[in-house]
């Protein structure tokens, strides 16, 4: 009667929650538990982890017993996940090295490509415009401590010997 995928959403959810609870429990078990009169640093985490496992279990069991069909996962925006999350991680890795302007340019370009409406014609000016606007706003106007152009883009960084021998 029901599509296995539709039923499985809460089942998956319950199992994931139980796994998360188990993970928390595993990393909290070394902490001193104390007693309810004098609670140790492990008291709260351990109790909460156990509750989380129990709630996850309840969700999974309820899902198994459910006869009616629920909503489905739908399709997953893999391209969006990859590009958007990738762009943010890239910003974290490269901002201090490349500087705000180049890093932001790359981030916007990559993120824009996540859309099915992505066109070079719109993405490129958007990336240039945002990089310029944010550099002006955050570095020039607000004076935030971020490099505009980072050390990775200086010759000195890659060929320090060359620049000093030229003196």
């Amino acid at each position: 009667m029901q599509d296995p995928i539709e039923k499985s959403r809460d089942l998956v959810g319950g199992v994931v929650v139980m796994a998360l609870g188990a993970g928390f429990l595993l990393s909290a078990r070394a902490l001193p538990f104390g007693s309810s009169g004098k609670m140790g640093p492990g008291y709260f985490p351990i109790i909460l982890s156990v509750i989380l496992i129990a709630l996850g279990g309840a969700l999974a069991i309820a899902a198994l017993r459910r006869s009616s069909s629920e909503g489905s996962f739908g399709h997953i925006a893999w391209r969006g996940v990859l590009l958007v999350v990738g762009a943010v991680i890239f910003f974290g890795l490269a901002m201090e090295g490349l500087g705000l302007a180049p890093a932001l340019f790359a981030v916007v370009l990559a993120a824009a490509a996540a859309s099915r409406y992505a066109r070079v014609r719109t993405g490129l000016p958007l990336a240039i415009g945002l990089a310029a606007f944010c550099s002006l706003l955050f570095i020039k106007a607000l004076g935030m401590p971020m490099p505009l152009v980072g050390p990775w883009l200086s010759t000195e960084f890659w060929w320090p010997a060359a620049s000093s021998s030229l003196q």
Partner: protein, 499 residues
Amino acid sequence: MELFSDLALGVSTALSPFNLLYCFIGVLLGTAIGVLPGLGPVATIAMLLPLTFGLDPVSALIMLAGIYYGAQYGGSTTAILINLPGESSSVVTAIDGYQMAKKGRAGAALATAALGSFFAGTVATILLALAAPPLAAVALKFGPTEYFSLMVLGLVASVALASGSLLKAFIMIVLGLLLGLVGTDIESGAQRFTFDTPELMDGMNFVALSMGVFGLGEILRNLEHEQTRSVMVKRVSGLMLSKEEFKRIIGPVLRGTTIGSVLGILPGGGAMLSSFAAYALEKKSSPNKAEFGQGAIEGVAAPEAANNAGAQTSFIPMLTLGIPSNSVMALMIGAMIIQGITPGPNVITDEPTLFWGMIVSMWIGNLMLVLLNLPLIGLWVRMLTIPYHLLFPAIIAFCCIGAYSVNNSTFDVFIMATFGLIGYGLIKLDFEPAPLLLGFILGPMLEENLRRAMLLSRGDPTVFVTHPISLVMLLVAVIMLAVIVLPSIRAKREEAFSE
């Protein structure tokens, strides 16, 4: 009447052309940074602090205060328009505000936020003028025992935020509580869930987490549905409130203002609780219950009023006790010290121009915010008609900068990316993220106060019921839990019978 002469002094101080100008600069700047995702008032005030060295102390503090409540104001704009709460207080506004925006009612939501905030700000300012010192004395009655019971009440209220399954809401709260425990245990100094990472020792950053779960998660969800629509909102109807909508928000605004004014006085996290306490109350008592979570205008009005009232009354502990209730207040105290003013109970008597000038300027600042923001609504709403494939890369760019700027740390950018993925996962598994964030905020406070109360009572748990304030709050929490849980249990039972 002494009050009138004091107020007259305040009015003449606040209305001096210079102070009007600085007040305006403050609220303008505050609105601007509030609207930019992630860039909070703390970073801005810190950067502007050196500029205030040369100013008259009153002007300096008027401007800094303006930035603070201006930012509260601007923060709800992004929460409503793009589901991106920059601060804990606007998490709740995002729930129904964003749904309204999606239905083309962003204008009405923004107008509700503006009007509700203005009304709440006015009431809270009057309260500040009339009764600041006695209210501060009440705040001191709150020890760890009372705070613990307040947090329990808050936790119960946060269950009401979810509109779907109760079980799933509980799961999200518990998960949020656990995430909130990441970092150094305050009592023993032990490291919990930090995996020897120094960046995790002070816990995860709320802004990074919330921008990930809400902001990035929502973008990924929208990318899924791209084939059906290229613009977020196809049709924008009416920028202002209809008569009927106006009637609907009066009650919620009044109740929100009351809750916010009361909780804002408590320096230990009261202002933070006020917006969702107000939301929970409306959701349970409103005749339009069913609309909550789908774009109920009451769901915007109540928390916005509470949040703004709380922002104003949270000045009470700072001005009357010299104790900062959040990091913005700590910066303002720093500004006072640099200016040669000793913050403390004597500020009212020693620096009457400062005290009364600031209070009157707060009301003027709130008025300026309404006048500034109502015309801007048209502009904001038009932003939603920008094709989404151009809008979301810009949101991501601002989120990256915002996450970085909180602690000037790339680590927070990675946290945001991680929670973007988690947020999308939650959407896919049909979990609602709002209770998670509230658990995250409440978790550390709940544990801290429970353990501190037990330490101070030397292990005697009866303190929670022998302290009258604590007892009352626990009773309210129990009643509230019953109101929330019983209907769904009854529904389940009926379901079982019908089968």
